[in-house]
């Protein structure tokens, strides 16, 4: 079996630009959720989000690049560059047909879509000339491929909130299969627009105040935005350029509920976790930390807790579980990547990030939640979950480099 190393990570989130800002917020339990005041947002009931208020894309992309890219591609651009920088890979080694680019997203260029529709229905006949290439969900991937001259297989995985986790998993499978030597993978989302917020409000899954996963008084999720990216490489590719991994991407499992478009399913979620364990060749007892999907919606949290217990049994009482969503919001198609960055940092630092915002743990989702701050503890293997509307589940396992 070809082992897959993570050689670089990048992140853009409401906590700021960079892995370091993200990890600090997660480790310290500092929520980046704040009041939201966006243009044309007068009709919104929910006025909180985990948004990047001061992100200036012009600091990171050229004028030409800005013309053809949406905000979600900007986030991906920045996160990918950070990952490549950490990996220390030369442009020459990276480019070509032996590299793949797969950046997942739930929606794609929602800001461009929202602005274009607004202009069009206002009677403006000249909308942005490059609306289509900015909006298409694969545009972040294409931007990365063009920027870094990646000519191997590139595509976008879109599976709502499992998009990033599946992108990372499928990238690893491409490497294992021998189709490519390395893959730039991750997810990006920029969905905090007035119309998009309203649509989420209509589902009644947005909390008007805060995300409190596994808390008895939880009342929904908080929308977030950002991007997470990784460079994955085969052992041989790393050896050829003298690189060492920061962690192993040891396991990927995915499953489909095949049941309901909204309601999650215990068996489906559990199947993804079990498949990830099997893929990694690990058993439940090997997992030292679980980064939960933990959205703060009534249904997800009960379902996920039951699925964890189905796989981990009595071990559930001992394995610390925390959700990153109270800190960086639910970043939808980016969430699996940003949360795997946090999970990997937790493992590297030997520090389990706290689970914040719980007023009273819900006995219906009994888990071992680190409610009193971060816990210093060695982590050899950690699991990160993503479960999406439509019943698409994905779990990833990272293991420490010894």
């Amino acid at each position: 079996m070809i082992r897959i190393g993570i050689t670089g990570m990048g992140a853009v989130s409401a906590a700021g630009i960079g892995v370091s800002a993200l990890w600090q917020a997660a480790r310290d339990g500092n929520s980046a959720v704040s009041a939201l005041n966006i243009p044309r947002g007068e009709a919104l009931r929910v006025r909180v989000a985990a948004a990047l208020h001061d992100f200036d894309a012009a600091e990171h992309l050229t004028d030409q690049e800005l013309k053809r890219t949406d905000r979600f591609s900007h986030f991906a651009h920045v996160a990918v560059n950070e990952a490549l920088q950490q990996a220390g890979i030369s442009a020459d080694t990276l480019k070509g047909s032996r590299t793949s680019a797969i950046i997942g997203t739930g929606i794609g260029g929602m800001n461009t879509l929202d602005d274009s529709y607004h202009d069009f229905y206002q009677g403006k006949t000249r909308v942005h000339a490059l609306s289509i290439p900015r909006i298409m969900p694969s545009s972040a991937t294409s931007h990365v491929s063009i920027t870094h001259q990646i000519t191997g297989p590139s595509f976008c995985v879109t599976s709502a909130c499992s998009s990033a986790s599946q992108s990372i998993g499928i990238g690893a499978q491409l490497i294992r299969s021998g189709i490519v030597d390395r893959a730039i993978v991750g997810g990006s989302e920029a969905c905090i627009t007035p119309a998009s917020m309203k649509a989420w409000e209509m589902m009644r899954v947005l909390s008007p105040d805060s995300s409190r996963p596994f808390s008895k008084d939880r009342n929904g999720m908080i929308l977030g935005e950002g991007a997470g990216a990784f460079l994955l490489e085969s052992e041989a590719a790393m050896a050829a350029r003298g690189a060492t991994p920061i962690a192993w991407l040891a396991g990927y499992g995915t499953s489909s509920d095949a049941r309901d478009i909204i309601q999650p399913d215990v068996d489906g979620a559990a199947a993804a976790m079990q498949a990830a364990l099997d893929d990694a060749g690990l058993s439940a007892g090997d997992i030292d930390y679980i980064n939960a999907h933990g959205t703060g919606t009534v249904l997800n949290d009960i379902n996920e807790a039951a699925a964890i217990r189905k796989i981990f049994g009595d071990l559930t009482d001992n394995i610390p579980v925390s959700s990153s969503k109270p800190v960086i919001g639910h970043t939808l198609g980016a969430s699996g990547a940003l949360e795997l960055v946090i999970t990997t940092m937790a493992m590297r630092e030997g520090c389990i990030p706290p689970h914040i915002n719980v007023t009273e743990p819900d006995p219906k989702c009994a888990l071992n939640l680190p409610l009193n701050g971060a816990i210093s503890r060695p982590i050899a293997a950690a699991l990160s979950n993503s479960f999406a509307f439509g019943g698409i589940n994905a779990s990833l396992i990272v293991t420490a480099v010894r």
Binding site: R45, V46, E201, M202, M203, R204, V205, L206, S207, P208, D209, K216, D217, R218, N219, G220, I262, Q263, T297, V298, L299, D362, K364
Partner: protein
């Protein structure tokens, strides 16, 4: 919320500060859920009157339109065992929302 799991579900409408609120909520359930009014009793369950999760979402939208209050799905709403508890959960969520609005205004 008390340990409602232990107590049997209530058989009468909740005792609210504003007694007219129950009728207004029932009006919205009738309209948005498309339920015959005489089927709406405190002891009826959501299932017996044919309310599915999408109908509950529609009812919460009706509450927003008619009462100017955004209510997300919370645990109390989701676990209501009959219409009495469902109405009580809506009233409680409305009260929380009002309290939050007042706090924001200050």
């Amino acid at each position: 919320m008390t340990d409602q799991e232990l107590a049997p579900p209530p058989t009468t409408w909740p005792d609210l500060e504003d007694a007219t609120l129950i009728d207004r909520i029932i009006d919205i359930i009738t309209e948005e859920g498309v339920v015959e009014r005489d089927k709406i009793t405190p002891e009826a369950t959501l299932e017996t009157i044919g309310l599915e999760s999408m109908d509950v979402v529609m009812i919460l939208m009706g509450i927003e339109e008619k009462m100017d209050t955004y209510l997300p799905m919370d645990a109390q709403l989701a676990s209501a065992r009959n219409l009495s508890e469902f109405v009580a959960a809506i009233a409680a969520a409305m009260k929380n929302s009002e309290t939050a609005k007042e706090a924001d205004a200050e």
